[in-house]
Amino acid sequence: MCFPRDAREVQAAVRAAQHHGVPFVARGSGTGLAGGATPLDDALVIVMSQMDRILEIDPRSRTAWVEPGVLNLDLSRAAAPHGLHYAPDPSSQQACSIGGNVGTNAGGPHCLASGTTTAHVLAVDAVLADGTATRIGGARPDEPGYDLRGVYVGSEGTLGVTTGVLVRLLPDPPAVRTLLLDFTSIDDAATTVSGIIAEGILPAALEMMDAQITRAVEDFVGAGYPRDAEAVLLVELDGLPDGVTAQALAIDEIGRTHGARTVRVARDEAERELLWKGRKSAFGAIARIAPDYYLHDAVVPRTQLVGVLRRIYEIAAEQRLTMMNVFHAGDGNLHPLIVFDRREPGTWERVHHAGTEILEACIAAGGVLSGEHGIGVEKRDLMGRLFSPIDLDAQARLVEAFDPSGLANPRKVLPAGSRCGELAGTRPVPEGTWI
């Protein structure tokens, strides 16, 4: 394990690993949920926490150069005096690093309107697998040649090690309104989501929480969520004051048409913060219910939400598991959360079985394996359910073009044998590596 302080030290670490034929993996804050930064095969771990400086904020071009260890929320705090913010806001934003966000192409509630990390990264300084330092992308709107930046963002450390990031900052909206809609049926809440999208309204955030997680959160933080609701929607609108007011009225009407029992509008910033605190405390809240949880991440077309949610609860019932759902409904990004106690014999197996069934249900509904957490080791061996051997081979060719040595974070994202003629991996991944 090493803790480089600058790009030259990263370069030295990568070259040393290459010299000894040892795999290497970069690590930010270790908040990743798919195990992308989990070292396998006795890999050299390059920890980026010492490289945590915000190098420059340029309010004129609304951009910032940061080192990869800068924490997500710290960047927005530093940009705030300029009336700017960094849009991707994963639930772990107090702890996760920008370099890690680049690795996973991280999302968050506010990516509904503005896109995940890839839409906010203009350039990356990277040390490639052979130890060469290069700049990918740039401050210009287009670079000649292939969009290497687009390929690099979300590549989970398999194409190189990030040593600097040029991000786009967005102006703070003049008006923000946060609404809480509560429903007596989860179907009604899901139909409301589809109704809002179909109406052509693109909220800044559109989050859904089911009955169990709503109660758990309410017990934990007392955000004023209705304890008897079957589902709540947290909707945030931002923009100019009149437009926000018009959209809030439209959402009130769509909600009530689809069976919303109450529509509560946060009266002030304090109430808005409280409503969001509830949403963002979900994972803290469930610790009071059981010692372990397994958080999934999948995306389905928004019109399929009702059916897929029903199927997820059926799977939970079949496997006798406690399942909660707290997720980014507006872009169909589900986060089924299985709460369990691994000390109970047989539970772990049922948790895994349920997880695979959930992902299969999402794929069957036209969905994909991950919306923002990435593939890592967790879903690597499920990639074949979504992609054909020919598709996986094409992705493996791309990785090989960046890293012919195969030492940059190997055995992540793509299953063994993806590249035609590649030998199947022999060592299994340790159980529970990514938990």
Partner: protein
């Protein structure tokens, strides 16, 4: 017909040919460099058609040979749009994506690459490959869709794509105004476009009617216009420059020999950094390229430029395309080889 059957003639053609030029409507044929090969080049076209429009999901799947105008009309029926916005809407969707040229409302709509969700393409080794996925949010595997946007047909022949649609804004207005673009960039909230030439600023406001009224109120000496008219002429290009350089760069463009400030030879996208240029004479385009490079930018040839005074073919990418010898140049070479091992797809289009 399933996609494998649709793509079969393309797969066969790519496998059989020594050199392949993926061809749409030929509206973007001069962008970048021309295909050049010692082998006979086979032009490979792609079928047209809208495969599926998921209205409520705001996604649409089309065959890459579909003209942009056809897609625009189909989406308009549902008050939706995909902001591809080529100069000539007979251009095919595959052609627009392959050249990677975004339209004049990039400030509000984002770059072209953000609109593509899933792609199916035929590689140089003759495989029909799928990349990305049909959902609006997706990080499953490597981002092949973004790799292919702007790849000039050198990595694969686009066969079918799924695009993200946007709802038509309630109101869309274009204004010509005397307010300087830099000032408007500071004070307008989420404008769809702020464009400027040497005579005026053009602003596109889109969204809720009340919000558009707020934006409109700050525009001095405003006159309603139909839209943005990009500079036109036989020798055209687009400059890509860090947005902070726009003021200095456009001032230099006004000093090119034989250019009258009132000719409207350039149009700059404020907040983006794209400058569209068009000239009567190839030497002026070459001069614009030199200015772009001195301001940390580069010029992509879109048309013309053939009469370079040195007699050498006009380099469609200029000095910014460094090719071999740099880390990024090596990456390009290896990526090209990975998807097109025999170098048969659009040979010469880059570099």
């Amino acid at each position: 017909m399933d996609l494998t059957a649709t793509a079969a003639p393309i797969v066969d053609a790519v496998r059989a040919a020594a050199a392949v030029e993926p061809v749409g409507a030929r509206t973007h044929a001069e962008v970048g460099n021309q295909v050049r090969s010692e082998h006979a080049t086979t032009a490979v076209g792609v079928p047209a058609g809208i495969v599926r429009h998921d209205v409520a999901d705001l996604t649409v799947t089309v065959l890459a040979g579909t003209p942009v105008a056809v897609l625009d009309a189909a989406l308009a029926e549902h008050r939706q749009r995909v902001p591809l916005q080529p100069r000539d809407s007979t251009a095919t969707i595959g052609g627009v994506l392959a050249t990677g040229l975004s339209g004049p409302t990039r400030l509000g709509d984002g770059p072209l690459r953000d609109h593509l969700l899933e792609v199916r393409f035929v590689t140089g080794y003759g495989a029909l490959v799928r990349g990305g996925g049909p959902t609006v949010k997706n990080v499953t595997g490597y981002d092949l869709p973004r790799l292919l946007v702007g790849s000039m047909g050198t990595l694969g022949v686009l066969v079918q794509v799924t695009l993200r649609c946007r709802p038509e804004p309630g109101v869309t207005e274009w204004w010509s105004t005397a307010s300087p673009p830099g000032e408007l960039f500071e004070c307008l909230f989420r404008p769809a476009a702020i464009l400027a030439d040497s005579r005026q600023t053009l602003v596109c406001l889109a969204g809720d009617a009340a919000d558009v009224a707020v934006g409109r109120a700050v525009l001095r000496d405003r006159i309603a216009v139909d839209g943005a008219c990009l500079p036109d002429g036989p020798h055209r290009g687009r400059i890509s420059v860090p947005p902070n350089e726009l003021g200095a760069l456009t001032a230099a463009l006004d000093r090119i020999d034989g250019v009258d400030r009132d000719d409207g030879t350039w149009l700059a996208e404020w907040g983006v950094g794209t400058v569209h240029v068009a000239y009567a004479d190839a030497q002026q385009l070459a001069a614009a390229r030199g200015i772009a490079e001195r301001h940390g930018g580069w010029l992509l040839r879109e048309a013309g430029g053939e009469a370079d005074p040195s007699g050498a073919p006009f380099d469609g990418f200029g000095a910014a395309w460094s090719g071999s010898g740099t880390a990024n140049g090596e990456l390009h070479t290896r990526i090209k080889r990975a998807f097109d091992p025999d170098g048969k797809l659009a040979p010469g289009r880059f570099g």
